[in-house]
């Protein structure tokens, strides 16, 4: 059976107008927001069109989630792996009962389409900044997966682009949309455990594997584009899908993967969402051999200028989740639930005169719903890009301090290291040509 959808080859991305026109002709056409009512921005009564870029485990989870939302229509999917693309395409077309979804190998083709309002970016970390900045420039609102960026400088560039173009950005840190995480932070913010003294964050432990020989690239997998801005390396299966997170060229290990969630919650409770630590020190066990090189176990301590200390470590050091320790008790929260000392705090209610944190509909789906609602109302979402950048900066600083094996001092306002030229070299990484963020 002949499909309406079409795989696009790479073409000169400079020709934006022509590209948009080309996509409009060859891709199945939905009437864009721009052509209905209030052009350019969605009106509350209309359906938002979305393009999905990156269709791995999180990509498919988000795709299935957004398919459930009636005021959002996925009109394009993109991945460098043809098999994943096909799977996503099938899911979308089956859901809508028509072959209206287009597929792309090159994300720039999708971003160029003027009839797409929203992007959902679920790419490996080394591919986070470039599509995000391009998407913001193209006027898209973006649901972007965590961790926000591979490096601190890339993260800041993303923040600037999103702010510059008034792009509405929701980071996929959905724990912020979970009632018990919010309540935990409200207990802390409202000093139910007295003055906050320190915070412990327990994250996942990494893994090791032996060295891996180069392998033939599987058919349908555009490996060169998968590598994109990262340093060149030969293909081997355990480098790519899902496992990329264990390799420092593409990610920061469990520290950034889980830290994007739990350090984010810690910052929420600490009220340090728009700043960062001033000093970081710790040790990590980075594998000396094998393909994967991100820290397996790790432990570091961050000092903040308000006197607070946050200790972050793999779960052999701290219980998984976040423990806020105050003068009069503690609050411990993770995905499994909430515990407090004293226990009666669990039954507390936050009064109208107290601090109420941002409410969004519950859990993963609620987090996606919150994004769509905020796009429509043009109000700030649960997980803004600035906050996500500040959260993941802590994890990046931890990795830098542990790799250097010494204390580093940080200026969170300027986002610069203090008197440390070596650490300053690790603020960003030059990218493989032609890519640049």
């Amino acid at each position: 059976m002949k499909s309406n959808s079409k795989v696009y080859s790479r073409r000169a991305w400079l020709k934006r107008t022509a590209a948009g026109l080309s996509a409009a002709i060859t891709a199945p056409m939905l009437i864009p927001e721009a052509a209905r009512g209030q052009a350019g921005r969605p009106s509350p009564s209309n359906c938002l069109t979305m393009g999905m870029i990156g269709l791995g485990s999180m990509g498919m989870r988000n795709l299935l989630g957004f398919l459930q939302e009636k005021d959002c229509r996925i009109t394009a999917v993109c991945d460098v792996d043809a098999s994943r693309r096909q799977e996503a395409l099938k899911a979308v077309n089956q859901c809508y009962g028509d072959p209206g979804c287009a597929q792309y190998n090159d994300f720039r083709e999708l971003i160029d389409r003027p009839d797409i309002d929203l992007l959902c970016l679920c790419l490996p970390d080394h591919w986070h900044s470039i599509p995000a900045i391009m998407g913001a420039r193209a006027g898209k609102d973006i649901y972007g997966e965590k961790p926000l960026a591979l490096t601190i400088v890339e993260g800041r560039a993303m923040v600037e682009a999103v702010k510059r173009y008034s792009c509405l950005w929701q980071t996929g840190s959905w724990q912020r949309s979970t009632a018990h995480f919010r309540f935990a932070c409200e207990l802390v913010r409202n000093q139910r455990i007295g003055k906050l003294q320190q915070i412990e964050v327990g994250l996942g432990t990494g893994s090791r594997i032996p060295p891996q020989a180069a392998m033939p690239i599987p058919p349908g997998f555009d490996y060169d584009r998968w590598l994109g801005p990262a340093p060149w390396a030969p293909y081997t299966e355990k480098r790519c899908h899902w496992n990329f997170r264990w390799i420092l060229d593409y990610s920061g290990g469990q520290l950034t993967d889980c830290g994007a969630h739990d350090i984010d919650i810690a910052h929420w409770g600490m009220d340090t969402e728009n700043t960062g630590p001033i000093q970081v020190e710790g040790t990590g066990d980075y594998p000396d051999d094998g393909l994967w090189n991100a820290a397996v176990t790790y432990r570091f301590e961050c000092r903040y200028d308000n006197g607070l200390t946050m200790r972050v470590g793999s779960d052999n050091f701290f219980a998984t989740g976040i423990r806020f320790i105050g003068e009069k008790g503690w609050v411990y929260v993770n995905r499994a639930g909430l515990d407090t000392h004293p226990k009666c705090l669990l039954k507390e209610q936050v009064g109208p005169e107290e601090i109420h944190l941002y409410y969004s509909p519950p859990d993963r789906q609620g987090h996606r719903r919150n994004f769509l609602d905020c796009v429509k109302n043009r109000t700030p979402p649960a997980s803004t890009i600035e906050v996500a950048h500040r959260s993941i900066t802590v994890a990046h600083l931890g990795n830098i301090a542990m790799q250097l094996g010494r204390k580093i001092r940080w200026n969170p306002q300027a986002e610069q290291f203090i008197d440390d030229p070596t650490a300053s070299r690790m603020l960003y990484r030059p990218q493989r040509s032609p890519w640049v963020f």
């Binding site: 173009y165 340093p231 390396a233 250097l404």
Partner: protein
């Protein structure tokens, strides 16, 4: 040959690891030479312990400048040698961290080498100093293709001002990808010269026009940061025109507001006034953050002139600003005919208002429009001020209509207005049943330990069955929240003695939920008493008991009581309590299940036993259920239990598991269970797999 290679690789790894243990930047030269010789032949797929040893030295070199220089020299020599490509890539990564001017020539030599250009840039782009700038500039004319784009990108990332001129030439060149890279690089270099260059090309360029526009926006931000307001304003005004794409106009608007601050309000209203302006919702969002003391008043002054959709957007923004100067506008708009405006006004009133606005909001909590109703209720719940709760209570007392009273009481509950407890107790006594029920619910949410007697009294004084049930629920709610169950029981028992029979029944039910041992004697006496209602309540309370303490009592009821309902209740409670014993006293649990299975006459309770015993992973459990295979009505439950127990004990008691699974395959006709049993059997040791006679 293959074995030889394997052996060589192993030896290589062993030597490297030995070196790793001793590696430090000030390693003696001979050992360094040996280590570097080893890594010179490195290929992907081999052990990288030798590389890790070198990398560790590189990271440790921070504190030892002399050793660092020596190490850098060795790495440079390796890069300039016949080492493998993979080794050279590794060396470049290390130079990224410790490379200095002395590494520039050898790295620069690779900038046009397609195999190493990117990774050489990985180091060279990071090395500070004019030497690296010059290396990139020198390489630019001779490079081509991706190597050239990489150099352009590096010049941009390094912000090399001297590269403006050579990059400018690329803007008009025939290669669009070079032009695009040059625009991006120049955007990062920024400065007045770049702005002039971009402006000049904007009128000429076609293909890269959009890129030039996008590049000028951060340049304008740079002007703003440097205080060159006029230059920044010029760029923003240029791109604010309607012919530019929406995102560009949005960026220009943001820039103009950063310059004009509150003086730019007219721009926002110009947009808001135009129903078709795509920047409308963005403009409303800007109102949230518009600085200046008079900004709110200025917005308020303009608000009435807007059309309704814009009015709703602006009201939402006014609420978020939190400035009470917008209160009169919100108050006036709550009665707006347009639902979106009214809802936005109610929400804003909740954010900005206080005790004085309770009566107004109360007028809308029963509105026929669900959205207005919900907005008014949420606003009441969120109003701030120490006198708000008192104002709500006054309003409850002043209103006659029950739905409004109920909404206001719910609000007190949501606001955790504990201080309202005495007033609500009074209200409960004099309210019609529906209101009374709502008050009781609120009391249950608000009550603290000290309020136990008052809630018991409320229950005792209930004028109807509905009211009594509500008061009972409130008491259970409070007791569930309190940690000290003995205190709860003591308070309830104090109220139990003088209470009439129906209230005693209610208190017995509550005691059943509390579960304090103090209450058990009273329950035992009650179930032996003469009043059938109290007897019934006591047996139900015992059957619901949250721990297995009254299990013997229940067994005796199950065996002796003439009433079938009570027998069933007692057996169910007893079987449930057997389940509670599994973890700490499995043999006691087993005995309890055996008693229940032997003595209970009904199939339903026997099925409960099978369901419970399935969680008891012991061979005795299989023995216990053995007789049930013979009862056709119990075979499905017996099969499920047998499978679960067998799976849990298979490793420790394979023969017992095997016997039960074979029995299942023989008796059960459930294909799914048979398949699962077969799977477990296959994993058993061969001696245990065969059926035992």
């Amino acid at each position: 040959m293959k074995r030889f290679l394997c052996l060589t690789a192993r030896l290589w790894i062993i030597t490297a690891v030995a070196n790793l243990a001793a590696a430090s930047p000030d390693l003696d030269p001979a050992r360094w030479d040996a280590l570097l010789k080893q890594i010179a032949a490195y290929q992907i797929g081999q052990s990288r312990t030798g590389l890790a040893a070198v990398a560790a030295c590189v990271r440790a070199a921070h504190a030892a400048p002399t050793a660092r220089q020596a190490l850098e020299k060795r790495l440079i020599a390796l890069l300039d040698s016949k080492a493998s490509l993979e080794c050279k890539r590794f060396v470049c990564r290390q130079l990224n961290l410790i490379g200095s001017a002395q590494a520039v020539p050898v790295l620069a030599a690779q900038l046009c080498n397609p195999d190493l250009a990117d990774i050489a840039r990985y180091a060279l782009e990071i090395i500070p100093g004019q030497e690296a700038d010059a290396a990139f500039l020198d390489a630019l004319p001779n490079a081509a293709g991706l190597c050239k784009i990489g150099i352009i990108n590096s010049l941009g990332n390094r912000r090399v001002a001297r590269s403006i001129e050579p990059l400018a030439h690329l803007l008009v060149g025939p290669d669009n990808s070079m032009a695009a890279a040059a625009v991006t690089a120049l955007e990062k270099i920024r400065g007045p010269a770049v702005v002039d260059l971009f402006q000049d090309h904007l009128s000429k360029a076609t293909a890269s026009r959009q890129l030039l526009i996008d590049a000028l926006l951060p340049c304008a931000e740079d002007c703003l940061a440097r205080g060159e307001l006029d230059r920044a304003r010029q760029i923003y005004q240029q791109f604010y025109l309607p012919e530019f794409p929406v995102p560009v106009r949005a960026a220009a608007l943001r820039g103009l507001l950063a310059i004009e601050r509150a003086d730019g309000l007219w721009r926002l209203f110009e947009i808001l006034d135009n129903r078709n302006d795509p920047l409308r919702s963005i403009a409303a969002d800007h109102l949230r953050h518009l600085p200046g003391p008079g900004a709110t008043q200025a917005i308020v002054n303009q608000w009435p002139k807007l059309e309704v959709n814009a009015q709703a957007l602006v009201l939402a923004a006014l609420g978020d600003r939190g400035d009470t100067a917008a209160l009169p506008t919100a108050i006036a708009a709550v009665n707006a005919p347009d639902p979106a405006v009214a809802v936005a006004a109610l929400k804003s009133l909740g954010q900005l208002g206080g005790a004085d606005h309770v009566p107004l909001l109360a007028n809308y909590v029963t509105h026929s429009d669900m959205k207005r109703r919900a907005a008014a209720q949420a606003a009441l719940n969120h109003l701030r001020g120490v006198t708000v709760n008192r104002a709500i209570l006054n309003c409850v007392n002043g209103r006659r209509d029950q739905p409004t009273q109920i909404a206001l009481i719910n609000s007190l509950s949501a606001r955790k207005a504990v201080a309202a407890f005495p007033d609500l107790i009074q209200l409960a006594a004099h309210s019609p049943p529906q209101v009374q029920s709502c008050v009781s619910k609120a009391l249950g949410n608000l009550a603290e330990e000290r309020h136990l007697p008052a809630l018991i009294d409320l229950l005792a004084r209930s004028s109807s069955q509905t009211a009594a049930q509500s008061a009972e629920d409130a008491l259970v709610n409070l007791c569930n929240r309190l940690d000290d169950k003995d205190k709860c029981a003591a308070a309830i028992l104090a109220g139990y003695g003088p209470a009439p029979a129906p209230i005693r029944c209610a208190l017995l039910r509550v005691l059943g939920q509390v579960g304090s041992p103090q209450a058990l004697p009273t329950l035992r006496d009650a179930r032996k008493g003469n009043d059938p209602q109290i007897q019934d309540a006591a047996i139900r309370a015992l059957a619901d008991w949250p721990d297995p303490e009254p299990s013997n009592e229940l067994l005796s009821i199950a065996k002796d009581t003439p009433q079938s309902t009570h027998r069933v209740l007692a057996w169910r409670g007893f079987i449930r309590m057997a389940g509670m014993r599994i973890q700490q006293s499995p043999l006691v649990a087993l005995k309890m299940y055996q008693q229940a299975l032997d003595l209970t006459p009904r199939l339903e309770e026997k099925k409960m036993v099978l369901s419970g015993v399935a969680n008891l992973a012991r061979p005795e459990s299989l023995k216990l259920i053995e007789p049930c295979w013979k009862h056709p009505d119990l075979v499905p439950e017996t099969a499920v239990a047998a499978l679960k127990i067998a799976a849990a004990i298979a490793s420790r008691h394979p023969e017992a598991a095997s016997k039960a699974l074979h029995r299942l395959m023989e008796v059960s006709d459930d294909n799914k269970l048979q398949h699962q049993a077969d799977q477990i059997l296959k994993k058993l040791p061969p001696t245990a797999r065969k059926p035992l006679n």
